[in-house]
Structures are given as C-alpha cells and as structure tokens.
C-alpha cells in the first residue's frame, strides 16, 4: 500500500510537470534527502531538534512522574492542587509560547521550557490516575504481608500503576515533538521546524519536503523505540486489558 502511494505520488508529479516547483516527484525528494543528510546540512538541524526534544521530554518525565506519584498517593495533596490543575489543564500548550518568549528569550531555554510544560500534563494526569486506580485489594494484600510503606510503594503501587504511567509517557512523546517543532517555527534560527519553514519561504521545495520526511522518520523511529522498550519492560501487561488514554 505504501509502495502504491509512493508510486502514485511519483506518477502524478511526473505527469503534472508544471507543478514541479510545488510538487517534486518522490524520487527527487529522496535524492535531496540523501544529499542533505550526506552533506550534514540536515544533521545539524536534526541534532538541534532532537536535543531540545530529549531535554524537554526527560525533564518532564522525571518531574511529572514524581509529582504524579505524590499527588496520586496523598489525597490531601491532590485536593490542594486539583483546582489549579483543572484551571491550567484546558489551556492549549502552544499558548504558552508567547509568554515563554517573554520570560526565556528566543533561544533553547524557551523551546525546552515550552516542551516541558506541554509534556508534563499527559504524564502527570496518567500517573495520578494510574496510582489511584491501583486495586484496593493489593493494598490489603500488602498489609497482610506486613509490607513497610516504602516496600509497598516500590513493590506494589509502582508496578501496578506502571501501565498507565507508560501510556502517559507515550502520549507525551508525540506532544514533545509537536511543541519543539512549533516553537522552532515561531522563532528560531536552527532546528528542523525552522528549516521546513525557511525552505518553504525561500521556495526550496525539495528541501522542504525532505525535512518533513525527516521529521516523519524521526517521529516514527521514536515511536518504534518506545514500543520496543515498552514490550521489554511491560511484557507482563500484554496479557491484560488496556486502559484509556488521558490527554
């Protein structure tokens, strides 16, 4: 099917040569992609994007999982923050870009900050939900075997909540890439997002397409990587039902 799409693309582009400026054939895009990668031109931008992505995602993961665990475990703490969470949560994360520019300037910090903010939400909410939905019976089991609070957390609560936490981490993967790309398009002088927009403005179509494809490949690779990790760590969960996603 994919091959069919590519062939259709190629055929249509070749047929409508007059649109060549807008719509280069797939082959040309591939050639351009290879050239860009080889020349290292794309590599620098890709590296910038990936670095921001990694930083933002990592910080968000650590912070949001920790916060989510705390909020999920201690009801009074959750009650304290619930209205604040419900207030901030509906605001779409890209809306924080302008305010981030004001406070962080137009460099890396801004992009990472925006990414951290956006990613934290799915991770936080899914972690809280994961902890909360640990079956009461597991707590009773831990009690009858006289587990200490820490042992109970580490051996029962955390593993039981992990499928939901992983769901949150997976959702955030896509969000991180979206926010990094967006912030690079709004204001930046490097990164794949910037490159795509620049190429379009300078009317360098093959480059633009190549960069879009590059982003797609990166997104796909990250997904697969995550899936592989997920399979390895969460092998036990494959036999059970899946839980709903929370965005």
């Amino acid at each position: 099917m994919l091959a069919a799409c590519l062939c259709a693309w190629e055929a249509w582009a070749l047929w409508r040569r007059d649109l060549a400026a807008y719509f280069p054939p797939a082959s040309e895009v591939m050639v351009e992609l290879v050239r860009l990668v080889a020349s290292g031109e794309l590599a620098a931008h890709a590296a910038a994007t990936l670095r921001r992505f990694a930083e933002g995602y990592a910080i968000a993961a650590v912070a949001a999982v920790s916060a989510g665990l705390c909020l999920g475990l201690w009801r009074p703490l959750y009650n304290l923050f619930e209205p604040l969470i419900e207030l901030l949560r509906p605001m779409p994360s890209p809306a924080t870009i302008p305010i981030a520019i004001l406070f962080f300037g137009i460099g890396n910090e801004m992009k990472v900050a925006v990414t951290v903010y956006a990613c934290s939400w799915p991770i936080l909410l899914n972690t809280i939900d994961g902890v909360r939905s640990v079956d009461r019976l597991l707590f009773a089991t831990a009690a009858t075997f006289r587990l200490s609070g820490w042992a109970r957390f580490w051996k029962v609560v955390l593993p039981a909540a992990s499928p939901q936490i992983v769901t949150g981490l997976r959702v955030s993967l896509a969000i991180a890439l979206i926010l990094v790309t967006t912030s690079e398009m709004v204001v930046s002088n490097d990164g794949l997002g910037y490159y795509v927009l620049e190429s379009q403005r300078a009317f360098r179509m093959p480059q633009m397409y190549a960069a879009v494809v590059a982003l797609g490949i990166i997104g796909y690779a990250l997904n697969r990587l995550f899936q592989a990790l997920d399979h390895w760590v969460m092998a036990w969960h494959r036999g059970l039902t899946r839980k709903e996603e929370i965005l």
Partner: protein, 258 residues
C-alpha cells in the same frame, strides 16, 4: 492461640444510617485447630476476618493472638482473600508471587526464598508452573498460587475468606483435600470462612455459625468425624449428615427471620 472477645464493628457511611456489621462476637480457637465460620450472606464474615487480621479496627472488643492484642497486621498471621486474582501481582511470575510474602522476612537470601517458594508451589501441585504469569492460569491454579504464597511464610494462623467460592465443584473438592494435606503437615491454625455448609463440616474440627447482621455467634459445634477425611466416606457418614442438617437448619432459620 486466637481469641476474640466481644468484637463489634460499626460502619458509618458518608450518607445514611450506620451499619452494624458485627454485633457481638466472641470465640476461641486453639492452636493447630481447623475452624470454619458459616452464616447467612451479608452477616459480616469477611469483616470479621479482616478485624481478626488486623486490617480493620473494631469499634469495640479485642482480638488476641497468642495472648497479645492485635492492633495491626500481626506477625505470624496471613489473610487469604476471596478475590485471589486481584490479590496476585500481575507483573510477577508464579514464583515471584510465591516469594512475595517471604521478602519481608529478614535473613533470607534470594536463593533461600526461591527454594522455599518452589517447595510450597510443589505442595499445592504447581511444580513446573513457576515461570508462568497469573493471568495465564485458571482460577483454581491462581488460588493455589495465593495459598502457596501465604503458606511460604509459615504463618501460625491462616485466615481464609471463602477461598473456593468461585470455583467449580470438582476443583473445589481437589483444593479442599490439598488444603487438608497442607494443614496436616504444617500444623497451622486455620480460620476458614465459607458459605458452603458441606465444605465447612468436611474440613473442620469445629464449626461456628454466625447470625444475621448484626452478627453474633449462635452455635459452636465440634465435628467428630475421624481424620483423615475422605470426599466420599466422610460425606456419607451419619455424623456428617447430622451436623450438616443441624447447621443448615440454624442458618435457614436465621435467613427466614427477615
């Protein structure tokens, strides 16, 4: 070994009147005895077990284990839950689950724990299934994992909350005999809650009958059937039939006064 004095448990829900699950229950269980508790549904049997296990605090009365008051889950006592599938750890293998209780005991290396766990898994007939995951097993097998997990801790007192309730008849008979064999070799004290009168009489040394809510102890009968018990011979014995009859009458009367 185990003594319950004037136990009373009242639940106060967020809305509506208070519910007195346990009215006034007192009894004693000697060491190495197998005692069953039967009663009409909703009479607070599970609540009673949870209070004895130290998981619930009674509104009044005391629970004494070996002469010492129970204020939280005591050492040497394990409660086996009715919903065993939710009580097992889905992310651990059968062996991992069986080791779970042992991990709290100091002074055991990992190899020690696994050896103990394997031993008890063998005793419940699950040798060879150590690497499986709980959800890959049938209900009866899962319950056996839970039993192995509890027994591996070598508890002095084992509380069992309708452990065979959701199993089919044949599996139940098999597990009843397995339990008796294990009890005879381990010599723990067992407090066994069930809604099945036949099962109670078949397994135990004594049968206690609880009244409807708010529950009281309305009967304490010794089971004078010889051991070892046999699924066919014991159940056809005149004494079995008489006891079963008596107990059934008692419970029916309780349920009738509605």
């Amino acid at each position: 070994m185990l003594e319950v004095r004037g136990l009373r448990k009242v639940f106060q829900p967020l809305s509506g009147p208070a519910v007195t699950a346990i009215g006034d229950v007192s009894f004693q269980v000697g060491a190495e005895q197998f005692v069953s508790i039967v009663g009409p549904s909703g009479c607070g049997k599970s609540t009673l077990l949870q209070c004895v296990a130290g998981l619930l605090r009674p509104t009044a009365g005391t629970v004494l284990l070996g002469g010492r008051e129970v204020t939280g889950p005591p050492d040497g006592l394990v409660l086996l839950f009715q919903e065993y599938n939710k009580s097992l750890l889905a992310w651990r293998s059968v062996l991992g689950n069986a080791c779970f209780g042992l991990e709290q005991k100091p002074g055991l290396t990992r190899a020690d724990r696994e050896a103990e766990a394997r031993h008890y898994l063998e005793m419940v007939g699950l040798g060879g299934f150590e690497r499986h995951y709980p959800w890959e097993l049938s209900g009866g097998m899962q319950q056996r994992v839970a039993i192995a997990r509890a027994l591996a801790c070598k508890p002095q007192v084992l509380l069992m909350d309708e452990p065979f309730g959701s199993l089919d008849a044949l599996t139940r008979f098999e597990l009843e005999d397995t339990l008796l064999r294990l009890w005879e070799s381990l010599r723990s004290t067992i407090l066994f809650v069930t809604h099945d009168i036949d099962e109670a009489v078949y397994l135990s040394d004594r049968v206690y009958v609880l009244s409807r809510r708010p529950s009281r102890m309305i009967s304490d009968t010794a089971v004078d059937l010889p051991r070892p018990r046999d699924q066919l011979a014991s159940r056809e014995d005149a004494r079995f039939i008489r006891l079963r009859h008596q107990t059934f009458e008692l419970i029916s009367k309780e349920m009738a006064t509605a």
